[in-house]
Symmetry: C2
Subunit: 469 residues, 2 copies
């Protein structure tokens, strides 16, 4: 740390942030010259979101600590208290930015309608019909879904802050994202109601081209909404990992969106839904990079549950309203593995300690897998014992037995601990970097498979209902 | 207090709440038999909101206190700590209820559209055009304004909770409602854009029938949005007063809405906007009555800034989107008086202590006006001194002078203190009751003037743009 006060920005930082802010404001103003290019405006607003988050995390750290929002980093030599729940700042800045952004995708429509005069509603609807389904901008009628996305994100922010404040019990907080997804589902019901999925070609002779899931589609959406935020929340425990995994997923989704936007020679039917997705992902990347600056090793702030829930919900919102929730699932493979792998402890088959983060070895300064100890009195039941040894043989767990073949300890069931079992003790930053790299490679491979194989399995390179968006 | 644990409901309470819940669920289910009567559904959901808020305030009190959200009631003999910021529970329950309510106003449209099959959008728009402006239900195109209202209310909830947590400075928090009104203004801009006001008949020869305020209309709306929540927040300091004043305003607005809904023989052009208003006011009354139960004298919980901001924003949302913001101003007369009266202290002309709530006289158990002391060294400047004496002569302040005509003390500039100057020392509950009664009488008189005189001053009994909402 430099000599300046920990709550004020250094001169370099101030100058950099001011330059960025100035550049973004100029770009934003320029978008009004043309058609109000919403994608450029979104980029500029994301830059502003980065600058605002960066400054506010610095300024508000002590305020958060004074309000009791603080924590101790257990994987460091010097266990000092640092601000907790900084994801709340990201959420508030993000929400403000996406709210301010609302008029931009509609700018062209507003201009057209205003010059038309008279009854605006009718003018817009006729215009919508005339331009057909291949609009490069948001159609005016999609305002409602944009707003419902904001409502879901605000709901998760409120519930996440509540969780950070009151430390809600695990079995209750699991359903927090379900509550937050209600606005999404309700507006989906009112405004779209599309509950059909496209059937892969090999199955079409049996099931038809479209299969209507009916009410089950809402259960499916609620399931995705519950899983995504929770899965990010449980792949946690080392500096920066919550933010880097969210950034990787957001960037992979953005790449996926970009693939749809650059398909010559004609605009892809799903262009609108992928523009929509970018409008929500770019500001998220803005606030996340600012948070990462402080949360990377050695962490100067913690992100809190708010950030994890919020990140997961951003992905849910863009993928459900953009009709590419299956692509999201493909990009959540490390999180899905971590969840499935955690099941024995989450459901109590194996004792689960309060914290499962890796153990900090103060002598070496490296992280080692944390363990669940087994006493002579409390040994696993035979089927569990068999399973644990099996996992050990598959190199999916490290089991330590004593001379009599009794269980002494087993490593905790998290992907982070498993990685340490595979790679041996690592320094915290190297561990986070390797996990992030692994996730990036897996995600890129997933996108390759999705776009390479989709053409074979489906008629078109798009799993959603073409043109609905 | 009875013998049961303070965080659990008594058997009578449990039975009453369960009966209410059961009745409301039955009513709610029945609305699906007919046209999904949204007003009945809203009433039933408001009953559920009451039950949920009532139970949750009881259950979560200790959790709030553990998280540091607690305060001391300074106007009691026994100054024990009680939970603070319980308005946050009201806000969360309210938001959940209005989100769940979203499909109800559109139920008829959904049924019509679903049976129509094919491209739902087109079906709905045509239907909308055919039914014209006299729809008794929400037109589908109004979904966006409903959602923007929810976004504004969620924003104020987040900012209010932030204020309760971090004790934001007065000059900063003054603008919190402005931030929260951004979604409202943005969606207003995208979706309506009506910035004209109807000119009173006597002025029409000079200004025309409609006068376009243009961008100033947004400044006006932001002004109302800033004023309403803040004015409720500063008329505070005795048990129950924040909640009772909000309930009175909400009920008067609901009466005003009812007057539009019962105008035979044909539906009033503004029917939709007043139904919209009721959909937001009824659940607000539900959560507020539950809060009042705990906050009335002697208070067992405090409401927090969250409640005041939230209440003020509910009124802003319904009156701006319903185009009757001038009626709201009419109902805020006690708050406006309190604000104007507070100006000398808010702007530092007279010293302003941290708290201006009435002084509790422990001997009598009554409240007396709190005072600002003047020392011999620090006397008011001549013009201020003249003004203070003038106010004293007008019975709008109590000034105490010493033998040499020097200022010893002046009562603080709040409506509550002024009421005590007029009425003499009062017990806290009597003071709250009298202020509430005064506000009710003033409000009813305001409504009478508005509906009686409006017919003379305007062509129609409606200040908004007829039919737009």
């Amino acid at each position: 740390m430099t000599a300046h006060s920990p709550t004020s920005l250094s001169r370099t930082e101030t100058l950099s942030l001011l330059s960025l802010t100035f550049a973004c404001v100029v770009i934003l103003t320029n978008t009004f010259q043309g058609d109000g290019e919403p994608l450029i405006a979104s980029l500029a607003l994301s830059g502003l979101a980065f600058a605002a988050t960066f400054a506010m995390i610095r300024w508000l750290g002590p305020t958060f600590m004074k309000a009791g929002l603080k924590g101790v980093d257990m994987s460091k030599h010097h266990r000092k208290e640092i601000p907790e729940c900084m994801g709340a700042i990201c959420a508030v800045v993000y929400l403000l930015v996406v709210i301010i952004f609302v008029p931009f995708p509609f700018y062209k429509d507003i201009v057209a309608a205003t010059s038309g005069g008279g009854n605006r509603d009718v003018v817009l609807h006729v215009e919508h019909v005339q331009q057909g389904r291949f609009l490069h901008r948001f159609p005016h009628s999609k305002l409602a879904s944009y707003l419902s996305a904001i409502i879901s994100l605000q709901s998760i922010a409120i519930l996440g802050i509540g969780d950070d404040l009151f430390d809600i019990r695990w079995r209750h907080k699991f359903f927090i994202p379900a509550f937050a997804s209600i606005p999404l589902l309700v507006v989906y019901f009112v405004d779209f109601g599309v509950t059909s999925i496209v059937i892969p070609i090999p199955l079409q002779p049996y099931l038809g081209e479209l299969f209507n899931l009916g009410p089950l589609y809402y259960v499916y959406m609620a399931g995705v909404a519950i899983f995504s935020p929770n899965s990010i929340n449980i792949l946690a425990g080392i500096n920066g990992i919550e933010v880097t995994q969210s950034i990787v997923i957001a960037m992979l989704l953005a790449i996926n969106d970009a693939l749809y936007l650059i398909t010559p020679p004609y605009p892809h039917p799903a262009t609108d839904s992928h523009l929509f997705s970018l409008y929500f992902l770019l500001p998220f990347l803005g606030v996340s990079f600012a948070l990462l600056w402080y949360n990377r090793y050695p962490a100067r702030v913690f992100v809190g549950d708010t950030y994890c829930y919020f990140a997961g919900m951003v992905f849910v919102v863009v993928s459900i309203l953009g009709h590419f929730s299956k692509t999201l699932i493909l990009l959540l493979i490390p999180q899905i593995f971590n969840f499935v792998y955690s099941v024995p402890q989450l459901f109590g088959l194996v004792p689960c300690p309060r914290h499962r983060l890796p153990r900090f070895n103060a002598r070496t300064g490296l992280l080692e897998p944390s363990i669940t100890p087994w006493t002579v009195d409390r040994q696993p039941k035979p089927p569990i014992a068999w399973g644990l040894k099996m996992l050990h043989n598959l190199r999916l767990l490290r089991v330590t037995l004593d001379g009599q073949g009794r269980f002494v300890e087993t490593t905790n069931f998290t992907l982070i601990n498993l990685w340490l079992v595979w790679r041996g003790p690592l320094r915290e930053d190297k561990l986070a970097l390797e996990l992030t790299a692994m996730q990036t490679v897996l995600g890129l491979f997933g996108l390759f498979v999705r776009h390479g194989l989709a053409r074979v399995v489906f008629k078109e390179d798009n799993w959603g209902i073409t043109g609905r968006w």
